[in-house]
């Protein structure tokens, strides 16, 4: 149960920020959403998700609010802060650059 490596961790942060950019969600919904959108390829484990959410919250990229969930139970909803939105933009740009570069390398070989 080692901690996610830097690449994975950074990627997870990006995925979470992106997912939250549409609307506030709770942890379960974030995981589900990532799984759905990626066509079941990306399965976010709780062991990575919650530490990542809390870290992002501590850093001020996202903020949390308690609200009623679909089932009527109180749940912790996360949403992007203004700073988080900027962070998402820069991380998206980073990701694009990085994945392009990786693509080039992979296809060349």
């Amino acid at each position: 149960m080692g901690k996610p490596s830097d690449l994975v961790q950074g990627t997870l942060d990006l995925l979470i920020l992106k997912t939250l950019s549409l609307e506030p969600k709770h942890g379960w919904a974030i995981a589900k959403r990532i799984q759905q959108v990626s066509g079941d390829v990306l399965q976010v484990q709780q062991g990575s998700l919650y530490p990542a959410l809390h870290r992002l919250e501590q850093q001020g990229w996202i903020k949390a609010k308690w609200a009623e969930s679909e089932t009527g139970r109180q749940a912790k909803f996360y949403s992007l802060t203004t700073a988080g939105r900027k962070q998402l933009e820069s991380e998206t740009a980073n990701w694009n650059r990085l994945s392009e570069a990786i693509n080039i390398v992979v296809q060349e070989a």
Partner: protein, 881 residues
């Protein structure tokens, strides 16, 4: 905005941590519920859904911990947890904790107290403006024989007029005044200073009330004015501001009080009661003389001028003075010392030695605690090993160990501060001779120092045991069979090494204390050259009422006769200076019968004025000739006695009787005939006798004398009757310093006595600590080797053999330590050489005595555990595992 968000986040994480914990639990529970709900939706029954969800969820506690790890303030939380954990561990062994805290407290307390003293006395500047530019000026000798001669009035005048290196220069001298009582108050002899008017402005001292001296007060023809110290004003005048402008009687003369000095101003010492203007009090002739060395000179260096430059400046002037006055005791050079250094140089070495000793004590205390902790960590090796094996990090183990010892040293520090304040209170009450004792108090820096010492000790004592066991070794513990026969070799060796160090330091302290004690005893056993069962008191005849020589002599004669008739009195004498009271005064002279001296050379001897019965009263033996006669009065008092040393120094191979001395003592006769030679007496115990000339007190020139009364039994019993006699003779005459000779000698050896006793106290303490350490280490070894010993005994080893084996095990570190200590002492004892009197730094008696004491103590502390080992019941020992 992000920082604001982060800040509020931080605040929440700090102050609402419990609420956040609950929310986290709730958040995770929600996730689980969602999973279960999903599982049910996909067709599982409730129970199965739950199990599947839990399975996929993993270990909720680990998840929770991992999430919590991302929170801020985590370190604080962990620290707090470690502290609580450490405190719990310490509570489980209260005996160990209490001892460790007390040991630490003693070490830290002694250090804090001594640091306070050293800092206040030696390091902290006097509270004057630009203290680093204030200096004391001394007359000196170009050949370097005298460095710190006090200054003559004429010399001061020359310096002040010609020197270019100083902003200002002031002159002062200690005097005593008879302060008359008003309205039934007793008269008292007040310690005072005469000073040039510019001293207070130069130091930057403003009066608390009234005004300071002005240049116009400081002239012979000015009105008499006086400034009072804050203490005298409060004590004698009830702090009445109305006293300013009124007059008080000093030596029967009216002085107008012009000002009160502030409470903080206690320079040069707290005993100084009042100040008068020097050029008003002293004759202009005296203040032009280059031979009467009487005064203390303080100056303020110009900014940017170094002490060397200023010294060169003064040297040039003084050499010029010397050329101008080639005869008489005129110095030809100058010496400058920073004011602070000039004040404290007598006590400096002693204080540093004691401070070093407290440092050693603290080190011993730390070693001892490290030792105890090593023992504890050894008993917890299994626990540590298991934690390691389960993935506990070594850093964590070390942190716990260090925090535990930090807790101990923090407790010790708290107790230490308490000890320190007690030690300080005691110190101040016993050592009133320490200059600037009034400035001693604990301040912020001392508290910072305490905290520093606590951290240092905690880290030191904690890291040694923590680092002693490496990760590999820890795991090896698990590999070892559970029946460890003689485990923990490495930690045993470490403990023995620490012990040897401890013993070595103890030996150093013991030897240092031994040397100082021996030196003190040597000093006290020195023969003063006179009787010591003597009561002394200072008598100071005021100017008013005792204007003529006849009146003064009449008083002394009458006092003599009346005191002699008291029961129990065996002898009564009067002298200006008694043996053991210090040098006080010397004057230069020439010998009439000798050829004139080469230019620039002078003869010099200590000067005392005595009455005819003084020598018999003090049991100072007459070696040759006769005593003075009671009939030799005033100008007929031309007959003097000289000391044995003077004869040896100036009349080698000659008969001094009948020779004539022509002294420069100012008043009195021109020429004196030597009629007798008396035995030497010591000015102070630490120095050899000086050449001394005894002039007749009955010349009537002196106004002050010390009455010396030898008694059959306790001298103090005659004190009250004598005071009554004096009060009957002159109701307004105060007496001061009613002391026995023993007390005078005690005062003059106070600092030696004190240094020796203090060092001894530290040495005994550290001996105790080392004994505890030895006892502990051997008990531990025995406990560890119980099985081995049991096997040995079961196989037929004799009990004496076991005893011997164990004793040797314990004594080995003691022996190593002894060797280390003796070698280190050979080096260290040289450093305290200047404090020793009549004792060589490598005094064999001290070294041998210390070694024997140490071995005996070491053997005693090892005997109990060794004996226990030899009494082991082999059956029980083998079963114990």
């Amino acid at each position: 905005m992000r920082w604001l968000h982060k800040l509020s986040m931080r605040m929440r994480m700090l102050f609402h941590r419990d609420a956040e914990d609950e929310r986290l639990d709730d958040e995770l529970r929600f996730h689980l519920e969602q999973q279960i709900a999903e599982n049910i939706a996909s067709g599982m029954d409730a129970d199965e859904a739950r199990h599947a969800a839990l399975r996929s969820f993993g270990n909720p506690t680990v998840l929770r911990d991992q999430t919590r790890d991302t929170w801020t303030w985590n370190w604080l939380e962990q620290l707090w947890r470690d502290i609580r954990y450490g405190a719990r561990m310490l509570r489980r062994t209260p005996g160990f904790s209490v001892i460790a805290i007390l040991v630490m407290g003693l070490g830290i307390g002694a250090n804090v107290a001594l640091l306070t003293v050293v800092r206040s006395v030696l390091l902290k500047p006097l509270p004057f403006r630009d203290i680093d530019r204030l200096v004391r000026l001394f007359e000196a000798d170009a050949q370097g024989r005298f460095r710190d001669n006090i200054v003559a009035g004429g010399t001061f005048a020359a310096w002040k007029a010609q020197a270019r290196s100083f902003d200002d220069m002031a002159i002062m001298k200690h005097v005593e005044y008879n302060l008359s009582g008003v309205g039934g108050q007793l008269p008292e002899l007040a310690n005072a200073y005469v000073t040039s008017w510019n001293l207070f402005p130069m130091l930057g001292v403003k009066p608390a009330l009234g005004r300071s001296f002005s240049a116009s007060d400081d002239r012979r023809d000015a009105d008499s004015v006086v400034m009072l110290s804050w203490g005298l004003w409060k004590r004698r005048y009830g702090g009445d501001p109305g006293i300013v402008g009124k007059s008080i009687l000093l030596d029967g003369k009216a002085y107008t009080v012009i000002g009160i000095l502030p409470a903080w101003f206690t320079y040069p010492d707290a005993k100084t009661q009042l100040w008068t203007a020097l050029y008003h009090e002293r004759s202009p002739e005296l203040m032009q003389m280059h031979t009467a060395h009487n005064f203390d000179v303080i100056a303020r260096l110009k900014p940017g001028v170094s002490i060397q430059q200023a010294t060169a400046d003064l040297n040039t002037i003084q050499a010029q003075v010397r050329r101008q006055f080639p005869d008489g005791p005129v110095m030809d050079a100058a010496n400058i010392r920073p004011l602070l250094e000039a004040e404290v140089r007598d006590v400096k070495t002693g204080l540093y030695v004691v401070f070093a000793a407290t440092g050693c004590l603290l080190l011993i205390a730390c070693l001892n605690i490290a030792n105890l902790l090593v023992a504890r960590s050894a008993t917890r090796r299994k626990e540590a090993a298991i934690r390691c094996a389960l993935g506990g990090s070594r850093a964590r183990l070390i942190r716990e160990q260090v925090i535990e010892s930090l807790l101990l040293s923090a407790g010790g520090g708290a107790i230490g501060l308490f000890f320190a304040s007690m030690i300080l209170a005691w110190l101040l009450s016993t050592r009133d001779d320490i200059p600037r004792a009034d400035a001693i108090h604990m301040d912020g820096i001392v508290f910072l120092f305490t905290i520093g010492v606590i951290l240092l000790c905690g880290l030191f004592a904690g890291l040694i045991p923590a680092l002693s066991s490496s990760h590999k070794q820890l795991l090896k513990t698990l590999h070892e069979a559970s029946r460890s026969v003689s485990g923990g070799r490495a930690s045993t060796r470490l403990r023995q090494f620490l012990l040897a160090l401890e013993v070595g330091l103890t030996v150093m302290l013991l030897i240092g204390a031994g040397l100082l004690l021996k030196s003190y005893r040597q000093l006290r056993s020195v023969d003063l050259g006179s009787a010591t069962n003597v009561l002394t008191m200072d008598i100071n005849l005021p100017r008013v009422g005792y204007e003529t020589a006849a009146k003064r002599v009449a008083f002394f004669e009458q006092l003599q006769q009346r005191v002699r008739q008291l029961p129990g009195v065996r002898g009564v004498g009067l002298s200006t200076v008694l043996p053991g009271q210090g040098h006080r005064r010397d004057d230069t002279f020439t010998i009439a019968e000798h050829p004139p001296l080469p230019r620039g050379q002078v003869l010099d001897a200590a000067t005392r004025f005595v009455d005819p019965s003084y020598f018999q009263a003090m049991h100072i033996p007459l070696l040759q000739g006769r005593f003075m006669q009671p009939s030799e009065l005033y100008e007929r008092a031309q007959y003097i006695l000289v000391s044995e040393s003077l004869v040896r120094q100036y009349f080698l191979g000659e008969d001094p009787i009948g020779k004539h001395i022509l002294p420069d003592i100012g008043e009195g006769n021109q020429s004196y005939e030597i009629v007798g030679v008396v035995g030497d007496v010591l000015e102070d115990l630490a120095n050899p006798a000086e050449a001394t000339i005894y002039y007749p007190l009955y010349m009537g020139t002196e106004r002050s004398a010390v009455l010396a009364v030898r008694t059959a039994s306790d001298p103090m019993v005659v004190a009250l009757p004598i005071q009554k006699i004096i009060a009957q003779m002159d109701r307004d005459l105060p007496v001061a310093n009613i002391l026995t000779m023993e007390q005078i000698l005690g005062q003059s050896t106070l600092s030696q006595n004190f240094d020796a006793k203090l060092l001894l106290a530290f040495a005994v303490l550290s001996l105790l600590l080392s004994a505890v350490g030895l006892f502990g280490v051997l008990s531990y070894i025995v406990a560890q080797r119980t099985t081995e010993i049991g096997v040995r005994i079961a196989l037929g080893a004799r009990r004496e053999q076991v005893l011997k084996l164990m004793l040797l095990d314990g004594l080995r570190p003691a022996l190593f330590g002894l060797v280390i200590g003796v070698v280190a002492s050979i080096w260290a004892s040289r450093l305290i050489q200047s404090l020793l009197y009549g004792t060589r730094p490598l005094d064999p008696i001290v070294f041998v005595a210390v070694s024997v004491v140490l071995l005996i103590i070491a053997a005693l502390s090892c005997v109990v555990p060794a004996w226990k080992a030899s009494r082991l019941d082999p059956m029980q020992a083998l079963r114990a595992e």
